[in-house]
């Protein structure tokens, strides 16, 4: 297929170019850039006036609930939501059902994604069998089947000894690790930040040290074993400090933060609002500020959706029994642009954390808009607004961090491999 976009501002290294230009896409690649292609015969012409052309957004942490029960969505529904959010690549977490701890499950995910997916899907395999934290998974086999990394999927590895061996074994085969830091015995039965709000509501708390001691442990073990460690999502200021120090010491580590943690704090769970039940928990305003600063300075490499669709019933319970997680993949970019509009984050830092940052984590070539590059493209109208509402979402999980509030930035078009996978219809969908 041959198509072109005119009057568009390409975004290079997080900065939209000042002068609009045209881009020609032929057979899945950017064939030409910058010239006047009005003489070319194309199948589609898109007017990109006032829009940015981004290299496709990459999400390192997106739960696609397939294989799994059919209640919380599918690879089809959630990648459709991701494409609407401007993502062209999503890394899917290993906590599927069954758990992605064998090549067979990885193949299944990739097959379904190939048939029904609307974005590229890169599976993250389980670091231990069944994510139980006891026996090593077939790491080399998972990697050969197509896993781009191995992770704990938010489950904690009980013993430091097992974790150390996982890292050493992973290092042997050059396997990348995506690990969410949580000290299980300190997190215990907690369900909210161990702070002012949990104290008042009488909710069992997850203290900050449940994260910081785990961050420390992961950093120390990765340093010793030489493992390629990507850590997160982070939730508190002290974790950012620890990762910064490790990076300054030259350790091979990268980090991520979930968009909800840049947007909301513990105050969001007032009134036992289970929608904001998150893991790690939403913490204080000072933590939120420090996480934003971490993205700004590059200590945090990637902003992730940490998308976790769950059906309506999963949140219809007393707060501690609700399922943690939000449905965020459709609104991640817009929520980020809202932070930019609020003056809390630079546009450049936001766009890098959704493109170049995650690409670096995955060891991919730095995404950019240039000739001969694969046409994974996202067109965004930064001045337009949209209103998230439960009924108009593509995701099967209706639990958004914002509802009935105008958000900046509409994804006008998402193309994967040159194929248009999402197009804004202008009717609110």
């Amino acid at each position: 297929m041959k198509w072109r976009v005119d009057n568009i501002h390409p975004v290079i290294d997080g900065e939209p170019s000042a002068n609009p230009t045209s881009v020609l896409v032929v057979d899945g690649r950017i064939a030409a850039l910058g010239a006047d292609f009005s003489g070319e015969r194309v199948e589609r012409e898109v007017d990109g006036a006032g829009q940015w052309l981004l290299p496709g957004l990459i999400d390192l942490n997106c739960h696609l609930p397939e294989p799994g029960s059919d209640r919380g969505g599918s690879i089809e529904s959630e990648t459709r939501a991701a494409a609407r959010g401007g993502f062209t690549t999503v890394c899917t977490t290993p906590d599927t059902s069954p758990i992605n701890d064998s090549g067979a499950v990885t193949h299944l995910i990739l097959d379904v994604a190939e048939r029904n997916g609307h974005t590229r899907v890169l599976p993250v395999g389980a670091l231990t069998r069944g994510l139980e934290g006891e026996r090593l998974s077939d790491m080399a086999g998972l990697t050969r089947a197509g896993c781009v990394a191995l992770g704990n999927g938010g489950h904690t590895t009980a013993s430091s000894r097992v974790l150390r061996r996982c890292m050493a074994y992973a290092h042997t085969f050059g396997v990348r690790l995506f690990l969410q830091p949580e000290n299980a015995s300190l997190a215990s039965d907690g369900c909210a930040h161990d702070g002012l709000v949990a104290a008042r509501l009488g909710l069992p708390g997850i203290p900050e040290v449940a994260e910081t001691t785990a961050v420390n442990e992961l950093l120390m073990l990765a340093e010793e074993t030489g493992a390629n460690l990507h850590i997160g999502p982070l939730s508190c200021a002290r974790s950012v400090t620890l990762v910064r120090a490790a990076k300054e010491a030259g350790h091979n580590v990268t980090a991520e933060v979930g968009i909800a943690h840049l947007e909301a704090t513990e105050a969001a769970i007032e009134g036992y609002n289970g929608t904001f039940h998150s893991r790690p928990p939403l913490r204080t305003e000072a933590d939120r500020r420090a996480l934003l600063e971490g993205v700004e300075s590059g200590v945090i490499d990637a902003i992730v959706s940490q998308h976790r669709p769950s059906d309506k019933a999963a949140k219809l319970a007393p707060f501690p029994e609700t399922q943690p997680g939000l449905s965020t993949v459709e609104s991640t970019l817009s929520l980020g642009l809202e932070r930019v509009a609020a003056g809390e984050l630079s546009r450049r830092a936001l766009l890098r954390a959704l493109t170049c940052g995650p690409a670096r984590v995955l060891g991919l070539e730095a995404p950019t808009i240039a000739e001969d590059r694969v046409a994974d493209l996202t067109l965004v109208a930064p001045e337009q607004h949209w209103m998230p509402a439960a009924r108009s979402l593509y995701s099967a999980g209706p639990h958004l961090p914002v509802m009935e509030r105008e958000l900046p930035g509409v994804v006008m078009l998402t193309a994967v491999d040159g194929r248009i996978r999402h197009e804004h219809k202008g009717d609110g969908s």
Binding site: R200, G205, L316
Partner: protein
């Protein structure tokens, strides 16, 4: 929370329609509950201890956690108001068959229940029910997780008012396991709302919330300092599990440091009231001589419990019925 809690509990006219938490309720309303309870004390002294306020209404006692004392006072209160009472020990029936809390409650509502008296091990469970499941059934919180136990706090307030006449100028110390205590959270809020001078918490750090100042109280670690110039001492019950959870070394050490003995009682103002929500662990939280002594009002608290529960049930039923008639149940979730 104070705002959302207020909206959820009150009708548009400011009448009580659920009683979920002290948080969000103002001084005039708490005083009205106490005044109404006072008027019901007289009912308990009659030969025929009944008033017809809830005649024809069905009250369901839903206890997802075992309780004998609280449940029986609620039952007695409902019967004295002439209601039909159904006691359900849910802990051993529906939920263990995999039925969700929502389904259980929707089934009960279908049996034309007018009021649920609910105890649940999860903080916020009654809020969830009032907001999202059965907003048109009056919900009375009989204790939720570590959150609140508002009727217990109100009966304690009634006891304090009977003895001290007023709340202003009082210093109140709450001693023991504040962190896991729903009673303490309700008491602190009620005392502050009713205008005491100071609420103090006396406990080791392991039995306090991570940020105890969030509760609106001053923290002390030692009885000698915390009890000085205090007018009311509320001892909390210590659960045996706390020793297993590595929060305390032993009951005997707790008693030595925080148990209310005659010696420690002497730090407080002369004539200070001694209270305990019960059941008492003698020799753990309190010395027998103090529990049975002249300053103890522990038994009176039980009598007041029935009157306070009658007050809350009749008020919430009234608010709920007015709301149903006007058909404008504000704050009702569409889900």
């Amino acid at each position: 929370m104070p705002d959302s809690s207020r909206r959820l509990q009150l009708t548009a006219d400011g009448e009580l329609r659920h009683f979920l938490a002290i948080e969000g309720l103002d001084e005039p309303l708490l005083t009205r509950i106490l005044d109404t309870a006072d008027s019901f004390i007289e009912v308990g002294e009659r030969t025929i201890k009944k008033v017809p306020l809830l005649r024809g209404r069905t009250v369901v006692n839903l206890f997802f956690e075992p309780s004998t004392r609280t449940r029986s006072t609620f039952e007695l209160a409902a019967k004295r108001l002439s209601a039909d009472v159904l006691n359900l020990d849910i802990g051993t029936s529906a939920t263990s068959k995999g039925e969700s809390l929502s389904d259980t409650l929707l089934n009960l509502r279908a049996m034309a229940s007018d009021m649920f008296v609910m105890r649940h091990s999860q903080s916020g469970a009654p809020h969830f029910v009032a907001q999202s499941v059965t907003p048109d059934v009056a919900i009375i919180n009989a204790g939720d997780g570590r959150h609140e136990h508002p009727t217990q706090a109100m009966l304690d307030m009634l006891t304090i008012r009977q003895h001290m006449k007023t709340f202003s100028g009082l210093r109140v110390a709450i001693v023991g396991d504040v962190q896991h205590s729903r009673v303490a959270r309700s008491q602190i809020r009620a005392l502050n709302t009713l205008g005491v001078d100071e609420v103090r918490l006396i406990a080791p750090d392991t039995l306090l919330p991570h940020e105890p100042e969030a509760l609106g109280a001053r923290v002390f670690h030692r009885m000698e300092e915390g009890l000085r110039n205090v007018d009311v001492i509320i001892m909390l019950r210590l659960q045996h599990e706390r020793m297993e959870g590595a929060l305390l070394p032993s009951e005997s050490e707790f008693y030595r440091m925080y148990g209310l003995t005659r010696e420690k009682l002497a730090y407080a103002n002369p004539g200070a009231l001694v209270m305990h929500p019960g059941p008492i662990n003698r020799g753990v939280e309190i010395e027998s001589a103090v529990a049975d002594g002249p300053q103890s009002v522990i038994l009176g608290q039980v009598t007041n419990g029935i009157a306070v529960r009658m007050a809350v049930m009749s008020m919430a039923m009234g608010g709920q019925l007015n709301e149903r008639q006007s058909g404008t149940s504000e704050g009702v979730a569409s889900s």
